[in-house]
């Protein structure tokens, strides 16, 4: 239980000693998604963590909180990339059941999971090449508190999912301002990201899920955008909504990014209208 945070501290010490470069342009490392991969907030992008270009290392650490009134999601994690080619990430999510736990006298008041991610840039470039940047990723997720998920019909506490995503920055693409486009598909059977386990009594197969985002950069430091993520609906005890958000990203320099968003998370575990505020702070090296 405590070895993973210690691992992060060790990794941070290691990173501080590495000469992480800044060969990519500001904001092209994206923020950190809630599953640890570089991206927007609720979706990964084809870009890799940090600012390393060819032959360089890049890395980031982040902390994110989503507060919907009934629930709260806390995420912390780290991503490391090399050669603008391969990214390894780790994220720990803790989902506080708040009102639901109190209302139903649930045996636990939070659900946690670990997410280990690998992303590889297959081809293309975010800005320069003929082709957009296309990356393939896999995420291995381990749900840590499986009692409640098992009671509501989840089939397993551990699973692996994959995604394919493409990103392109179109210079001047939005009335003269730079336009960032992302689109991806995910192959997953995670219930509420995996916080409610994987597979369910209603459906126990992977689904092909669409996700994407569009952002406008008013200058290299400020981005305003929207995201969408389709979700499966595997459990019969409650519906699972697709997610969307409207975000404002601030990249004052290549060491810091702050993302503030309004997220519409719909129905989560029987409680509907879970709209709330998303705040993420990321440090890059």
């Amino acid at each position: 239980m405590t070895y993973l945070p210690r691992c992060i501290v060790l990794l941070l010490g290691l990173l501080a000693n590495l000469a992480c470069a800044d060969g990519r342009l500001l904001a092209t490392g994206g923020a950190s998604s809630i599953e640890g991969a570089a991206g927007g907030g609720i979706t990964p992008w084809a870009v890799l963590s940090g600012y390393g270009e060819r032959g360089e290392w890049g890395a980031d650490v982040f902390a994110t909180r989503v507060e919907t009134g009934d629930y709260r999601l806390d995420v912390a994690g780290v991503g490391v990339a090399f050669d603008n080619r391969i990214e390894l990430s780790y994220a720990r999510q803790r989902f506080d059941l708040g009102n639901l736990a109190r209302g139903l006298n649930l045996p636990e008041n939070s659900l946690s999971q670990d997410i280990f991610g690998l992303k590889v840039r297959l081809f293309g470039d975010l800005i320069y090449d003929q082709l957009p940047q296309v990356s393939l990723g896999i995420q291995h997720k381990r749900q840590k508190d499986f009692l409640i998920p098992s009671l509501v019909g989840a089939q397993r506490s551990e699973d692996t999912e994959g995604y394919l995503t493409a990103s392109r920055l179109i210079l001047g693409g939005a009335f003269g301002y730079n336009l960032l486009l992302n689109g991806g598909i995910r192959y997953s059977r995670a219930n509420e990201l995996g916080l409610l386990g994987f597979g369910g009594d209603r459906r126990d197969r992977h689904s092909v899920l669409k996700e994407g985002s569009v952002a406008v950069l008013f200058n290299p430091r400020w981005a305003l955008g929207v995201e969408y993520r389709e979700k499966p609906d595997n459990l019969s005890f409650a519906g699972e909504s697709d997610w969307a958000d409207l975000f404002l990203g601030y990249f004052p320099n290549k060491n810091l990014a702050v993302v503030l968003a309004y997220a519409r998370l719909g129905e989560i575990a029987t409680l509907d209208h879970q709209d709330g505020v998303y705040l993420s702070v990321q440090g890059s090296f």
Binding site: G23, R24, L25, G55, E56, Y128, L171, G172, Y177
Partner: protein
């Protein structure tokens, strides 16, 4: 019949002529003097940039300034002619990396911002220059 044909040929000939050149970007960059200030600002930024300054040592900086200004003028639709070497030729043997190219882009962006070039005009120029990366790096 012959006059109709003649009219068609004349129309086609008129269409084949160059349309008036769009020089709006050239004007947004401040025309000749503005472009020269941007290039000089960029070269000053490079001089202070430890990432890439070594690539600019032992070269004729005044000539570089003039050729860069010509090139940007041409790319922006201005009334200039580029008289320098090709991109491939002028970067030969330097083994420039994608990081080097991005560092130069950042120095150019800073120079344009210092000259208060509006963001859409900055992006238009970058969009004209971005496709040149393949001719600049790994030479």
């Amino acid at each position: 019949m012959r006059s109709v044909l003649l009219a068609m040929v004349l129309t086609l000939a008129a269409c084949a002529q160059q349309p008036p050149k769009d020089d709006s970007l050239y004007r947004e960059l401040g025309e000749q003097s503005g472009i020269t200030r941007i290039v000089e600002g960029m070269l000053l930024n490079i001089a202070a940039d430890p990432r890439i300054v070594r690539h600019f040592e032992n070269i004729d900086i005044e000539r570089l300034r003039d050729k860069l200004a010509e090139q940007i003028c041409v790319e922006a639709g201005g009334p200039c002619t580029y008289t320098g070497d090709s991109m491939e030729e002028s970067h030969k043997g330097q083994n420039l990396t994608p990081s080097d190219f991005n560092a130069l882009v950042e120095n150019l962006q800073e120079a344009m911002s210092a000259q208060n070039v509006p963001m859409p005009a900055q992006n238009r120029l970058l969009a004209r220059l971005a496709p040149m990366r393949a001719q600049v790096i790994d030479r």
